[in-house]
Amino acid sequence: MKFLENFFDKNRPPKDRWYFYLYEVVQNFFFSAKVATTGKTHIRDRLDVQRVMVVVWLATFPAMFWGMYNMGYFGLDYMDKGGFTSTGDWHNWLIQLAGTDVNNHFHRFWFGLVYFVPIYVTVFVVGIACEAIFATIRRHEINEGAFVSTILFSLSCPPDIPLWQAATGIAFGIVVGKEFFGGTGKNFLNPALTGRAFIYFAYPSELSGDMVWVASLADNGAIDGYSGATALGIGALEGLAGMQANFTWGETFFGQIPGSIGETSTFLILLAGAYMVYAKIASWRIIFATLIGMFLMSSLLNFVGSDTNPMFDVPWYWHLTIGSFAFGLVYMATEPVTAASTNMGRWIYGFAIGVLVVLIRVVNPAFPEGMMLAILFANLLAPAIDFCVTSYNTGKRMERYNS
């Protein structure tokens, strides 16, 4: 690989060229930077932002692979029950390369792959292009954070999302959620969630309801006695009893439920979360605080009870496994740039997410899912939380210093 290294070193453009940062990110992909330290600190930790993002990216893999397999199962199961042989859209000829036997594990996985890969490729290309264009014009470095935003956005999409909507969503997320404010490190909203929220409100018919969570259901149409609704969607209408009639708690925990691609398996997501906490990339304070907030709020609502709203009775361990709670908890809430950045602030921030998500899920009549909105609200709160925490410390410090 010496020739490639020499090639990159020889052709490295001066910093004032417009393509310098594009060149740098490509070089960084192949080789670590060969830059010596200056100043008084002569050695540096081996961890860099690129590695931080790679750890998060790798941590999404279990949820991603399970998501593909699970999506294949539900798609094929639906086709089997309805007696369809075609998915009814352009995916069909690729699906037919393997076959549509619902009992064949490879067919399930292949089905998921055929649906997920186009989404990810589209989102990746559009997202990185937005980042690269802004970096080139604004003359800032291309941050590897965009790689994480794109995979997280893809995993939060429903399986059958039209690709142009996915592209619009990630473009909005990267540009409005991040680049308007100066790029990774300066954004105050999670870019992946900003994009997700945008398409959620812009194209509600493709992003919510009972028809979008099983691939090919929207194309082939509903069949009698088959519901493609998510556990959370059922819960919103029929409460705990409704959910239990369709799924066991174990199924929701291990991920045998329909839903967005990456969100289904709470078990695998929590494993990935444990890895990120061990690697010290994700904040355990935020994760625990969110769980505590969710537990207290859902228990309070269980205690209060309601005759008209069945969601009041859903206990905390169902809240944990249904919907995107676990996915948002591990991958989105812990995003360091948009979270609070003091230790005390992290507790408050996480607690706020936990309380808000249950409030939105249970009390709010419009949206069955609350995690996305809860995290975005908490993102907005984070600077205020930090301000309050540091004001307290600052007040004590100045009082002592001036005494």
Partner: protein, 439 residues
């Protein structure tokens, strides 16, 4: 004997530590220098010319902002060169030693501060918040004597203090006389010394909990109405030698350490010694000579390749940064990181090799929580470091910049995944604040 636990701090396990005094060597280099970067906010009035013959402890330049305080020559000899940098600002004065005579005798006057000034030891003290040499003939409410092992490679100071205990005790007595109320002696090990009026404290913690800022914060935080000085164990020994022997003392114990050092050892040499001469023959390959530790030290060109005033250590690090193919997938069995992202977090090697690679590109600050974890000081690190990066002087004052010194920023620079240099940012912010406060 009081024991205090301080959380935070980071020990960076490097190869090449010094653990004992077994191979102590004495080196008297030909070239010695005084460096201006050691003195914060000093405006020099140069008193010598190139080629002048100077005696030991004869003044080289005076500080216009601190009348009566002179920076003095560490050795007797000839002024070899007066080096200037940008805008003709003084960088260093290099003295070529003529002979290795016995140290000159020194008159002990009744005023301690006068005696220290005449012998070139007044700059042993530094006053917070700016870490400046204090005004002549003043005294402080609180004096902190730092006897901690501040770096994982350096020899524990308690070994040398035990070796020179009579001198240290004498020095302690003299330093105590300059303290109006409190005098704290902070160490990692028990020192087996007593001195009326001094409080002996053992600090338990790793890495930067040995920094004076951490001690001040734990014991007697800085107040505007009180003066707080700090002094290093080495200078206490030197003051002791001055008063007992009644002779000038410019010798220092230096630990020569680091992964690129073939023979880590202790050297008794002069203050401001040429690092090239002191490390001759034990540096492997293309090496960066650092006066200080690997995370907080100075290195430089021929003008500044000398031991700095407040360092007790020379670290040798390979200066050949290498590129790694597909670095982002590297398992990293031999790579140190504070975060557990490499296989080294499972196998836990005892020591690591380092070179001067930044190990990553420069990015915006991504506060993943490493700062909070290793922070031993009473600050909110992420917001503090962000304020440093944007130079927000008002916020920095409130966030506690006056409690800190630039050495405290080094560990944050080390762990920063975005590869910021917080030491440099801290120094430039402090200079701005000093300009505002002193005008």
């Amino acid at each position: 004997m009081k024991k205090i636990k301080v959380k935070g701090g980071l020990n960076i396990p490097l190869h090449g530590s010094v653990d004992n005094l077994s191979n102590l060597e004495e080196i008297r280099p030909k070239f010695n220098a005084v460096l201006l970067e050691d003195y914060f906010g000093l405006k020099p009035k140069i008193l010598v010319k190139e080629g002048d013959v100077v005696d030991q402890a004869s003044p080289l330049f005076e500080d216009k902002t601190n009348p009566g305080f002179n920076v003095r020559s560490p050795v007797a000899g000839k002024v070899h060169s007066i080096n200037r940098g940008e805008k003709r600002a003084l960088v260093s004065i290099i003295i070529e030693a003529t002979s290795n005579d016995e140290p000159k005798s020194c008159e002990i006057s009744s005023s301690i501060s006068q005696t220290l000034e005449m012998s070139g030891l007044w700059d042993s003290f530094r006053e917070r918040p700016f870490n400046r040499v204090p005004e002549l003939n003043s005294a402080a409410e609180n004096i902190f004597i730092n006897c901690c092992k501040q770096d994982s490679l350096i020899l524990d100071p308690s070994v040398l203090i035990a070796e020179e205990d009579a001198y240290f005790a004498e020095g302690l007595k003299r330093v105590r006389e300059l303290a109006k109320t409190n005098c704290y002696v902070v160490s990692n090990q028990e020192l087996n010394l007593t001195q009326a009026g001094c409080e002996f404290i053992i600090i338990e913690g790793s890495g930067q909990t040995g920094n004076t800022s951490a001690h001040i914060q734990a014991l007697n935080p800085i107040r505007k109405s009180e003066k707080t000085w700090s002094i290093d164990w080495q200078d206490v020994i030197r003051i002791g030698k001055l008063f007992i022997n009644q002779k000038l003392c410019s010798e220092k114990y230096i630990s020569i350490t680091g992964p690129s050092c073939s023979e880590p050892k202790i050297v008794l040499t002069t203050a401001g010694a040429s690092m090239e001469e002191v490390t001759a023959g034990i540096a492997n390959g293309l090496v960066r000579r650092i006066s200080g530790s690997a995370i907080y030290g100075s290195h430089g060109d021929s003008y500044t390749d000398f031991l700095t005033r407040y360092s007790n250590q020379i670290t040798l690090i390979s200066d050949e940064p290498k590129a790694t193919f597909f670095n982002w997938l590297k398992p990293g069995v031999k790579d140190h990181s504070n975060s557990n992202v490499f296989l080294s977090s499972i196998f836990r090697p005892k020591a690591f090799n380092f070179d001067t690679n930044t190990n990553g590109g420069f990015r915006a600050i991504v506060p993943i929580g490493v700062f909070d974890e290793i922070n031993p000081f009473d600050i909110d690190p992420t917001l503090f470091l962000k304020s440093l990066a944007i130079g927000d002087l008002v916020a920095l004052r409130e966030l506690g910049i006056f409690d800190l010194a630039s050495e405290d920023m080094a560990v944050f620079s080390y762990v920063c995944p975005s590869k910021y240099d917080y030491v440099a940012l801290f120094n430039s912010c402090m200079e701005e604040i000093w300009k505002e406060e002193s005008s």
